[in-house]
């Protein structure tokens, strides 16, 4: 595509997502994709590389990202080969999984504790790198690491970052595909819950050591809020949203815990900053959102688009009418006919109104998770309804 045309298309796409956030009616429904492995399985590159070859060869990765964009032409993508830096984990050799059901090939990440105690969270807050290097290292790598492994890991980070910069530019300049966000903000207690302490220990910490969690939250809060504030102040460039936000650990919290650890002074404040500065967030939510609907109702219209995968979208829309919604039920791409998949898209577009956009479920991984013909049919409808 000529650079001038790509520039026009990129600006058009930015406006489409702005309009969804602001509930402005439009002629077509924007398409947000989030495909990690599926595009490797869908490729027509011959001989067909394995997924691992794509993840270790950045030229091949660029080829498949271009091929996918040319074939499906989504309006925004959370993964242009840049969602997961698998090479880093493989180089270091951690992040273990266990087999839950050998016959069905079901695996699960092991719920690990990298700290050993809730108190250690305060040491993490004081100096994260020092804690990670001098203490977490001994839990994560009991057999130690060689200098070669560290050097290769640094190289893996560098290669990944360089590829991310390069592919972003390519997608902006040649395909008119905007960058998704200006910044990524992680609420202070997400990482301790999801990673540092593991789900089980964090769940106990919320009951036994809530003051420590409060203290950690307060220590990390300025950095979290500054990331969002700085993103709002930065020029828009080619991005759509100011902030990529996630809600993950809320799934093991009750309402009172959510209010204490993640809402008051935390997300509540972050949304205030976004609203004051005219910023927008795309918030990815795992698990249900209805139990915390009344908190999200406080967010002014135009600030929040939620990208979620679980629950009845009409119920969510009714409960949180100020929030734009990015959603599509993945089984319709797998088990139904193209006509039925289009009918579902139509039901969502017409039923949800202008604050709706299509989004891929990020769990689409196996090739059978979505059929090409269904994707083409749904995208064609979304572009031309």
């Amino acid at each position: 595509m000529e650079q001038e045309k790509a520039k026009e298309l990129l600006a058009k796409r930015q406006k489409m997502f702005d309009d969804v956030a602001n509930f402005v009616p439009q002629k077509q429904t924007p398409i947000l994709e989030n495909l990690f492995k599926w595009k490797f399985l869908d490729t027509e590159i011959e001989p067909k590389p394995t997924p691992w070859e794509f993840l270790t060869n950045w030229d091949l990765m660029e080829q498949v990202v271009r091929e996918h964009q040319e074939r499906y032409d989504p309006d925004l993508s959370c993964d242009i080969g840049t969602r997961n830096n698998m090479n880093l984990n493989v180089t270091l050799g951690h992040s273990q999984h266990q087999m839950l059901n050998k016959d069905e090939g079901v695996i699960q990440a092991i719920d690990e504790d990298r700290l050993g105690s809730a108190e250690a969270l305060l040491e993490v807050a004081a100096d994260p790198i020092k804690y990670a290097w001098t203490k977490a290292s001994k839990i994560t790598f009991p057999d130690g690491l060689t200098f070669g492994q560290i050097e290769d890991a640094c190289k893996a980070v560098d290669d990944f970052n360089n590829f991310a910069a390069r592919i972003n530019q390519v997608m902006n300049d040649e395909y008119g595909l905007p960058s998704t966000v200006k910044a990524v903000s992680i609420c202070p207690l997400e990482s301790p819950g999801m990673y540092y302490r593991g789900l089980k220990n964090f769940s106990l910490d919320m009951r036994r050591n809530p003051e420590i969690l409060d203290e950690y939250n307060q220590l990390m809060l300025p950095g979290f809020l500054k990331t969002i504030s700085d993103a709002c102040d930065a020029p828009r460039g080619n991005a759509v949203y100011e902030d990529w936000a996630v809600l993950l650990i809320h799934s093991i919290m009750n309402r009172k815990q959510f209010e204490r650890f993640m809402w008051k002074g935390t997300w509540q404040k972050a949304f205030e900053i976004l609203a004051e500065k005219g910023g927008k967030a795309l918030m990815f939510v795992e698990a249900g959102i209805l139990p915390i609907a009344d908190f999200l109702c406080e967010v002014p219209r135009g600030v929040l688009t939620t990208y979620y995968e679980y629950g009845d979208p009409f119920e969510v829309h009714k409960a949180i009418p100020n929030m734009a919604i990015a959603y599509y039920p993945q089984p319709y791409l797998t088990y139904n006919t193209p006509e039925e998949a289009v009918d579902m898209a139509k039901k969502l577009v017409e039923g949800m109104g202008p604050g709706y956009m299509y989004a891929t479920n990020k769990m689409i991984e196996s090739y059978s998770d979505q059929k090409r013909e269904n994707v083409f049919a749904v995208y064609n409808y979304l572009r031309n309804h």
Binding site: T134, K138, T140, F147, A164, V184
Partner: protein
Amino acid sequence: MDRNEKVEFTMEGYQKVLEALNIEGVASSTVANGNSSATVTNDKPAELKAALLAEVAMNFLL
């Protein structure tokens, strides 16, 4: 440092690794560290190496 040498998980060990790191041929790198991110280029190799090693270290917590 020899590539097969075990690193020491002390701050002195961290410094030793940082000094020994040889990252060549890098154009530029946007390095995320915790909640912040910054673009570091090879005009400042010391900063780039520090940012990369910090990101690797932070991964020990995951």
